[in-house]
């Protein structure tokens, strides 16, 4: 795929931690509206890559382009304002605020609301995700899956063009996984490009149009879910020789 027209263009990104090479000239292009799955064994660099894309970590080489614009030097909060939003593997809610107020922050900062719309917008999101009844609770009073939903809801409140979901389903039951998947599908229908990082293969394969596989900081495979499942290199990466 050519880089023109890509929503997100990760171009030869390299990242080192001291002597350890976490990402080795990784290049991935994401089309607008695409559902991309990003998989790989533990330590392959998935979260590091996401941290570089979101701006949480600086890169040691390569560029990152969003909608054609070079964002490699932009701080994280400005990337969020441009529309790159991520959720965290381990939920990081704002503990001193209610669920509703938690959504208020991205609404106010990342996607400045038209006057009066702020509260309405947040409630709509909560309704869609099923957290409406908990709007005035603090995060401490939420269950595990509710926290994950809050994490997603907060990301949605930032009005993303690109949503990166980092292992939102780890540790959830089968029904709960389907719950989250439904929400993600609905978001994609609304036009949001989604990158999903997951270990739950059933979810990734069902959700993704295309899958990219990382191993030890390198992109080792790319294709449809069906192709990836049959790929020998992928099998080796996960199961060893």
């Amino acid at each position: 795929m050519t880089t023109a027209g890509a929503l997100l263009d990760i171009d030869g990104v390299t990242k080192r931690f001291g002597g350890f090479l976490a990402l080795d000239r990784v290049s991935i292009q994401v089309r607008p509206g695409e559902r991309l799955g990003l998989i790989g064994p533990n330590g392959s660099g998935k979260t590091t890559l996401i941290n570089c894309v979101s701006g949480a970590l600086p890169t040691d080489g390569g560029r990152i382009l969003f909608e054609g614009r070079d964002i490699t030097q932009l701080p994280a909060h400005q990337r969020t304002r441009l529309g790159i939003v991520r959720s965290f593997q381990i939920p990081k809610p704002f503990v001193s605020m209610t669920v509703l107020e938690n959504l208020g922050i991205p609404l106010e900062y990342a996607a400045p609301a038209r006057s009066g719309d702020a509260a309405v917008g947040a409630l709509d999101i909560l309704r869609m995700i099923g957290l409406e009844s908990k709007a005035h609770l603090r995060p401490a009073g939420l269950t595990q899956i509710e926290m994950r939903k809050l994490e997603l809801a907060r990301a949605m409140a930032a009005r993303p063009k690109l949503l990166i979901s980092d292992e939102a389903m780890a540790g959830l039951s089968s029904a709960e996984v389907d719950d989250i998947l439904t929400i993600l599908f609905r978001l994609n229908e609304q036009g949001i490009t989604i990158i999903m990082i997951e270990h739950i293969m059933r979810a990734v394969m069902r959700f993704s149009e295309r899958v990219v596989v990382l191993d030890a900081g390198n992109r080792i495979a790319e294709g449809t879910p069906a192709e990836i499942v049959r790929n020998a290199a992928v099998e080796k990466a996960y199961l060893g020789e």
């Binding site: 979101s54 701006g55 949480a56 701080p75 994280a76 909060h77 400005q78 969020t80 304002r81 939003v85 991520r86 965290f88 990081k92 809610p93 704002f94 503990v95 001193s96 605020m97 107020e101 208020g104 922050i105 991205p106 106010e108 900062y109 990342a110 996607a111 907060r154 930032a158």
Partner: protein, 312 residues
């Protein structure tokens, strides 16, 4: 309460202060009141950075003393009037806050805290060696004839009432604004706040500057209050501990906390210094601080909130 309501209350409080100034009481009462109100300013200023943003400043003495010594320098150079002293004391201290913030706020919060502590020690060394403002020997201020009011005690008291009201108003306005919400987000989880669009570095620098500014404002009239300014009492560790203890006791998440803490602890200390040694007094403050941090970290306002929620 809307801003208009708050302004009405503010003016009323100042009016009350003026009325109190008209009473014929022992001038010591006014001086004691000055100290308590000074702590309202200090605690509120500290809390803008410590409570709202979650960054602990151990170097309150540095900012306070900078306000005092800027006054002295300006008095020596220009015989500047009090309002100018207050404004400049605040500006210089605010700049110090901005500077130390710029150097250390991109790193973990603990480095900022350590830097502020070391800052106190270094600044004190600098002042001790600067004879223009009196150095180690100290600086003596001869108060000119008091303008408008009956006595300097009354003037200083009312001045501090005004400064306290202004500081609390500013803190309250920040707290309820989008800045305050952004600060709360970065206090709760800085990484998440940044990823939700909050410009964390800019907000932190804002908080450090405002906090430093008002700490300097608190210190600017100090030479008029004590008339003899020397480094060891101006840089007293007392200010550092009280600046922490008062918001901790009152509650750090709202403007009311530092006010309550300052009034309670400040008044208690004023009473105590007459009865027990100042060192025992300090020891008790330290113990109370640790007890509150361990047992009631949300302070008195937090306890009240919990009680109300439990009853609801």
């Amino acid at each position: 309460m809307k801003i208009r309501g708050a302004l009405v209350v503010a003016v009323a409080v100042i009016g009350l202060g003026v009325l109190l100034g008209g009473l014929r009481v022992n001038p010591y009462i006014y001086f004691a009141g000055y100290v308590v109100l000074q702590y309202v300013v200090i605690a509120t200023a500290w809390n803008v950075l410590g409570g709202y943003a979650g960054y602990v400043n151990f170097g309150t003495p540095a900012f306070f003393a900078l306000g005092a010594y800027t006054s002295i320098a300006l008095l020596e150079a220009f015989r500047a009037p009090l309002p100018v002293l207050i404004l400049c004391g605040g500006l210089v201290a605010g700049l110090l806050g901005l500077g130390i913030g710029y150097l250390t706020l991109r790193l973990k919060g603990v480095f900022f805290s350590i830097a502020t502590f070391a800052l106190s020690v270094v600044l004190q060394t600098l002042i001790i060696n600067w004879d223009y403002v009196g150095g180690a020997k100290g600086y003596t201020l001869i108060r000119p004839p008091v303008p408008f009011f009956r006595s300097w005690a009354v003037l200083l008291f009312i001045l501090m009432v005004v400064l306290a009201v202004v500081t609390v108003l500013v803190a309250r306005t920040i707290e309820r604004s989008w800045i305050g919400r952004g600060l709360a987000a970065l206090r709760d989880n800085e990484e998440a706040a940044e990823c939700m669009g909050v410009p964390t570095l800019r907000l932190k620098l804002f908080a450090t500057t405002i906090s430093g500014f008002f700490l300097g404002v608190a210190g600017a009239p100090f030479p008029y209050y004590v008339t003899y300014v020397e480094p060891s009492s101006t840089f007293d560790l007392n200010y550092a501990v009280n600046a922490l203890a008062m918001p901790m006791i009152g509650g750090t998440t709202t403007w009311l906390g530092p006010v309550i803490g300052a009034v309670l602890l400040g008044t208690a200390q004023q009473i105590a210094t007459v009865t027990i040694s100042s060192e025992l007094n300090l020891l008790i403050v330290g113990v109370v601080l640790v007890l509150f941090v361990v047992l009631a970290p949300e302070g008195l306002t937090g306890l009240v909130r919990k009680l109300r929620r439990g009853r609801a």
